[in-house]
Structures are given as structure tokens and as C-alpha cells.
């Protein structure tokens, strides 16, 4: 259903290496149906990385944002305790499907296509697309004026669809709105079309940029609820109506500077804000100051516990995943080299399929797909399993190469001594091949360590997740990137050293003769 969703990337960096979807705040209401009445909770999910002003961690590391406040108000109205569940953007809707939480509030646009897949609450915000270009550019009154110009936006947004529907426009999609606006400011791009709240928070304060032209289109946000859960839908709609009627939603949106005539009209309320835009001002203030290096380093200290936690998660997932990959890969290699044809065939099929499909897709299938056939795995198990099953295919090929590299004469000698084939494998061939495969296996472990960043897709907070969290709070992508990269390096180095040490100590007596007999044995050429 992802194609139909509309998501906004707010704020800053999504994962560097990943396709930027649309970061938006998914507020997930979790319906704690099993909880006793007086303790009912509302578990809501969102991806708070770079999602200002929807839902994000502010500079004090506190979760905030206008959607965040709205969902809290709704929960209060419902008499439930709001519980926040973090999920990666790409998995927000899928997580709803497997009951990780009960609802999502994340700037998701209500469209008929999506309405057939999930339930939408009544609108909690109505806005439009805002065009932004360089200061001094003549105003743009319609999108058709943009023909022949390079226009930036975020992937899979309503803005993207609008631009693609306008003949002649050269559309450029960005992972992060910050970069898009930056390119306009420095002249690389003519303009950017994005949701009004994003424009307000990321472009309005830039002296090199200007808002240009009228509101384009209309975007209606709704809370997303799992299909079929109409009881919760009605409960939420009742609470939302109360929050609107009491004026509380007007207060919230006014504080965030988002009370526009558009939304006022939609709710049938006065156009004037009811409160000063204090939250907006403090957001601007927090990001106007360029901290000194010392202050920046001090800022990182604050995140130290988070970094340690993320490192441990990365290490845990990688190590257990690698053990699984080695064990399974080894079995696959034995099956493929020595097994009867059905096993050989099965192992080959597994290896080809796993190597030929992306790890990210495999992870998503394991976590979000398997529950459809009744297999519901915890995020940690799913992450480890995804990495382990994937890398097993690569390990299998390493071992296969290692097994085939052992001269045939070794097995012949074992058989001639009256050992069985299995004994020959176990005591003669496999121990020798182990040394041969150590270097490539070490290599793969380093790869796996880095690929483990994908487990944030299944809601685990690993080192890369920590990077996103810190970078989007401090807006220091470069410094945070260096810091986290250094930690990956530090985690990987000991294993490289250990492998090198093991290799040297194992091969000192062995390497020469193995090579010699390999050279003379000419495997595959039969003696006559």
C-alpha cells in the first residue's frame, strides 16, 4: 500500500543509504484492548526522526510536535494513557497490520485508494502545497509556469504527483527537504514544492528563500487505524470532534504557527490564532544558533547512553546473526557439495534466491509478511533471522569454495585408511577448509555489521537509528555521521584483528604443503 500513501519527510536526514520515503509522524494509537478499563492505553506510533513540526525530538531530547500534542489530547479525551511506539517510517503502516500498535498519526493524506486498505479518522489537519523559490524571483501563480524548470520535492508525496502531472516540469526528488531548500538557496534548483508545514519550518526563516504563489491543492491528514477496527475509529472520531469543538486543536495549531485560514475554514472556526506561536519561535531559536565545537561535543555527551545502547544492539544483532549465518551456510555448503541431488538442488535454490533479492525486502517479509501465515516474530528475532538467513547464502558459497579447494588426494587418503566419507569430511577436509574461508568470512562479518543498520526497519534502535535520532535533533549530520561511522569502525576492528591473528596461527604449519599438494594434484584430471 505504500504507493498510495502520502508521507512527508520532515526535517532532516533520513537514513543516508536508504531511499528516503516520506518521513512523517506516524502517530500510532495502540488500542490496548486487553488492558483493564481503568488502565486502558493508547499506543500510537510514529517515526520521530527529522519530522518537525509533526512529531520529533526537540533539542532537549523530548518528543514533541503538533501531531504529538493532538494525539495526547485525543487520548486524554478518550480516558486512555498515551503510549508512544517508535517505528521506522517505511514500516509504520505494516506495523499497524501486525498489531504492534493500534493507530498511526503521521501526516498521512486521506485518499480513496488508501481508504480501501486502512481506516482513516476524520481530518485533524488540512493544508496545501507551498511553492518556495529564491528571493527576488518573479511570483509563480500556477504550476504550468514551471514548465522547463527544475523543481525539487520529496519522494512519494502529493507534491510529487502534482509536479509529475504538470507537463514540462523537470522533477527532482530529494531524500531530505533540507537539501532541497539548500539547493534552491545556492541556485542549483529553481524551486521546491512541499507541504506548507515543512515549508514553514524549513524554508520561511531562510533569508535567501521566499514563499511564492497561492496555495496549491488541498491535503487532508487523517489518523490511520487498522482495517476492521471500527470501534476504535468511532472512539477516536468522537474524541477528535471534542478536541476540535473545545478549541483545543486551535490552541495547539496556533502554538505551532500552523493555524491557517485553510484549516480554520475546514473546522468552521475563526481565522485568527488563539495563542502566540511560541513553539514555532522556540524551534527557530534552537536552530538559529550555530553551536561552537566545544558545545557540540558537550551535546554528544548527552547522547552517550543512547550511543552505547545502539552499539550494543548493533553488536548483538550482528554477532548472533553471523553465528546463524555460519551454521546455516556451512550446512548449505555441505549439502551442495556432497549431498544427494534433492539436497543439492534445494541448497542451490536457496542460495540463488537469497542472493538475488534485497536484504531489505527479506527483512520486511520476515517481520511484516510472516504474521500473515501465523508466524509472529519479535523485532529482535526477526532482525537476527533476516541477517542470518541472508548471510548464510554468502557463507555457503565461501565454504563451498573452501571445500572444493582441498585437494582430492586428502579425501582419497582418508578413504584409503578405511574412514568413511563422513569421517573424512569431518576430520580431514573441513578443518583444512576452515582456514581457507576465514578471510572471506571475516570480510562478510564486516559487511554484516554495516548491513545490520537495516534492522531499524523492524523497529530496533541500532547504531544507525541512533545516528538518525541525534542528527535530526542537533541538525549536525556531518559531525554525527563521523562519530557514528567511527563507532562502527571501532566495533569492527577487533574482529578483523582477531581473524588475522587466528589465520596466522592456524596456517603457519599448514599453508605450504596444502598449496604444494594442491598444485600437483591437478584436481579434476584423472590419472590413467
Amino acid at each position: 500500500m505504500s504507493a498510495g500513501r502520502r508521507f512527508r519527510v520532515l526535517g532532516g536526514s533520513r537514513r543516508l543509504a536508504r531511499r528516503p520515503w516520506f518521513p512523517s509522524l506516524l502517530l500510532a494509537f495502540v488500542l490496548a484492548t486487553a488492558v483493564r478499563a481503568e488502565e486502558k492505553t493508547l499506543r500510537w506510533a510514529a517515526d520521530p526522526n527529522s519530522n518537525a513540526p509533526y512529531g520529533f525530538y526537540n533539542s532537549n531530547n523530548k518528543l514533541t510536535g503538533f501531531e504529538c500534542e493532538i494525539i495526547r489530547a485525543i487520548a486524554k479525551e478518550m480516558g486512555r494513557k498515551p503510549v508512544f511506539v517508535k517505528n521506522d517510517w517505511d514500516g509504520l503502516i505494516s506495523g499497524l497490520g501486525i498489531d504492534l500498535y493500534d493507530c498511526v498519526i503521521a501526516g498521512i493524506e486521506i485518499t480513496p485508494a488508501k481508504a480501501s486498505e486502512v481506516l482513516f479518522s476524520d481530518p485533524y489537519y488540512v493544508t496545501f502545497e507551498q511553492f518556495v523559490d529564491r528571493r527576488g524571483t518573479p511570483p509563480t501563480s500556477s504550476l504550468s509556469q514551471l514548465a522547463g524548470k527544475e523543481i525539487g520535492t520529496l519522494g512519494q508525496t502529493a507534491a510529487l504527483k502534482m509536479l509529475e502531472g504538470t507537463p514540462g516540469v523537470i522533477v527532482k526528488t530529494y531524500p531530505q527537504e533540507v537539501n532541497a531548500y539548500q539547493d534552491v538557496a545556492n541556485g542549483r534548483l529553481f524551486g521546491v514544492l512541499l507541504d506548507y508545514p515543512i515549508a514553514k519550518y524549513y524554508a520561511a526563516s531562510n533569508p535567501n528563500l521566499q514563499f511564492s504563489g497561492p496555495p496549491f491543492g488541498q491535503i487532508i491528514y487523517g489518523i490511520v487505524i487498522k482495517k476492521g477496527n471500527t470501534a476504535l475509529l468511532q472512539e477516536i472520531n468522537r474524541a477528535l470532534a471534542a478536541v476540535v469543538a473545545s478549541g483545543e486543536i486551535r490552541d495547539i495549531l496556533s502554538k505551532w504557527g500552523l493555524w491557517t485560514p485553510t484549516v480554520a475554514g475546514a473546522f468552521g472556526q475563526p481565522e485568527a490564532p488563539s495563542l502566540p506561536d511560541t513553539e514555532y519561535q522556540s524551534f527557530l531559536a534552537a536552530h538559529a544558533v550555530k553551536p561552537s565545537l566545544g558545545a557540540r561535543l558537550q551535546g554528544y555527551l548527552k547522547f552517550w547512553p543512547l550511543i552505547v545502547k545502539g552499539s550494543l544492539m548493533t553488536l548483538q544483532v550482528s554477532l548472533v546473526g553471523m553465528v546463524l549465518a555460519i551454521a546455516l551456510g556451512f550446512s548449505l555448503a555441505i549439502m551442495r557439495v556432497f549431498g544427494p541431488w534433492p539436497l543439492r538442488w534445494a541448497a542451490t535454490l536457496y542460495i540463488e534466491i537469497i542472493r538475488g533479492t534485497p536484504l531489505l525486502i527479506q527483512l520486511l517479509i520476515i517481520f511484516y509478511g510472516l504474521p500473515n501465515i501465523g508466524l509472529k516474530l519479535s523485532p529482535l528475532v526477526a532482525g537476527i533471522l533476516g541477517l542470518g538467513l541472508n548471510y548464510a547464502a554468502y557463507e555457503a558459497e565461501n565454504y563451498r569454495a573452501g571445500l572444493l579447494a582441498i585437494p582430492r588426494g586428502q579425501m582419497e587418503a582418508a578413504r584409503a585408511l578405511g574412514l568413511t566419507r563422513a569421517q573424512g569430511l569431518r576430520f580431514v577436509v573441513i578443518p583444512q577448509s576452515f582456514k581457507l574461508v576465514l578471510p572471506p568470512v571475516t570480510n562478510d562479518f564486516i559487511s554484516l555489521l554495516k548491513d545490520s543498520s537495516l534492522v531499524s526497519m523492524v523497529t530496533l534502535l541500532d547504531l544507525t537509528g541512533v545516528y538518525n535520532r541525534i542528527a535530526t535533533q542537533t541538525f549536525d549530520y556531518f559531525g554525527t555521521g563521523l562519530l557514528i561511522a567511527a563507532i562502527y569502525l571501532l566495533i569492527g576492528l577487533p574482529f578483523v584483528r582477531l581473524a588475522r591473528w587466528t589465520e596466522q596461527h592456524l596456517t603457519v604449519d599448514v599453508r605450504r604443503p596444502a598449496q604444494r599438494s594442491g598444485l600437483f594434484a591437478l584436481p579434476g584430471i584423472r590419472k590413467k
Binding site: L419, D509, K528
Partner: protein, 254 residues
Amino acid sequence: MEAPLLSVNGLFKSFDETPILQGVSLDVEKGDLVSIIGPSGCGKSTFLRCMNFLEVPDAGRISIAGVTIDCQGLEDAPPKDLSAKAHELRQHVGMVFQQFNLFPHMTVLENIMLAPRVGRNIPADEARSNGLRLLEKVGLEAFAERYPSQMSGGQQQRAAIARALAMNPQVMLYDEPTSALDPELVAEVLSVMKQLDAEGMTQIVVTHEMRFARDASDYIVFMEGGKIVEVSDEDEIFENPKDERTRRFLGRFQ
């Protein structure tokens, strides 16, 4: 009269339609040392490897120390029990390879102890003392803890002989045991084989060492074109070969 310890009858073997062995028969009595000679590609190595089923013959019958395997029609439908039978037969046969094929990741003593420990469940103490005794026999008692890579070719081949002896074989097969050795190392290997002969071991040697064949063999088998051309007394064949082909082959060594 006692049946021969080893008896091969009508052995045939082809690789990819190329006939290698074309009806080879040979009887070897207990205690004999038999040398098999012949030009390259005559099938002598394949013949030797068929004797312990490292190559499975297409047809023929092999009988060693009371274990008989009839290979008729194995090509089409190998019987389920063939590998069990071959396993049983190998328990009585030791083999030494041109390239030694010692296990490079084990010390010499571990090489020798592996098969008794794993294949026969001999207690470690017994396997060890037996291994040390065999190393002493081949003059390598000081090398027990060495790795193969730390030894000369001649020492490695002697260790390989000791390894084969550790399973108490009734027949020893040698596939060109000195061909990979520097000339000055050949003698030490041959003298071990002579010593075993003196102790009554039955040995079959595929070799290019004509001097050894002549000095040590009880008799010599000359093969060409996948057939045994001549079986003869060791002096007889060198001084008065009956067959023209034998004469031609030996003429090159004069």
C-alpha cells in the same frame, strides 16, 4: 593349496568411453612383493586404485583377504552395499600415494593415530604407543610432533607408510611412492619397503624405479595398453624379456 591373498579377475575400467583396463587378472600370494611397471598411460595406477575401490571397476572380481567384490554390471546399477563392501575391503588394504597425501593440519603422530582412533575406536593410549612404535620402525621417532610441512619428502613418505601400517593391513599398495622425491631421498623410502618385505608384508608397487623392481621384487608385472603383457621373475624380465613390447620398454632404461 592356500588361496592367494589377493586375487583380481577380468578387470575392466573405462573413463569417458576411453578403455583403461581391458581384462586384467592377477594373483598375489601372501608375503610377495610385486612391482608393476609399464609405460605412462598403460593403466597401472588405475589398476592399483581399483584394488581398494578408489576407482570403481566396470567389471571384474576382486578378492582380498577373504572379502570378495564382484563388479559385474556395477556401472548400470551399483548395489546398495557396494560402499559397505568397499569399506570392509579397505580395512585390509593400506595405500601410499605419490604425493604422500599426509593431512597437513595434523602432526605426524596425529596423522597416524587418526584412522585407528576414528575408524576403529582404539583407545588413545594404545593408538599413541602403536603410532610411536611405527614411527620408530620407519626411523621417524624424533618427528612425532612435527607437521608434514616441516619434513623432507622422503620423511613424509615414510610417515605415510607408517600411517597406512597403523591399520594393520594385510596388503600394502604403493602408487609411484618415490616419483615425487628428490633422487637422494628415494633410498630411504625403498629401504623401508624392503624391511617390510623381510617381515613378510604383502606389497604391490607401481613404480618407475627399475633398480628397486629388480632388486627387491619377488616378480614383476609388465603392463601395456590396459593389459598385463608379461609376468616374470625379476631377473628373467630384465635379462630375457619374452615379449617384444617389454623389450622395447626396458630398452629405454639401459
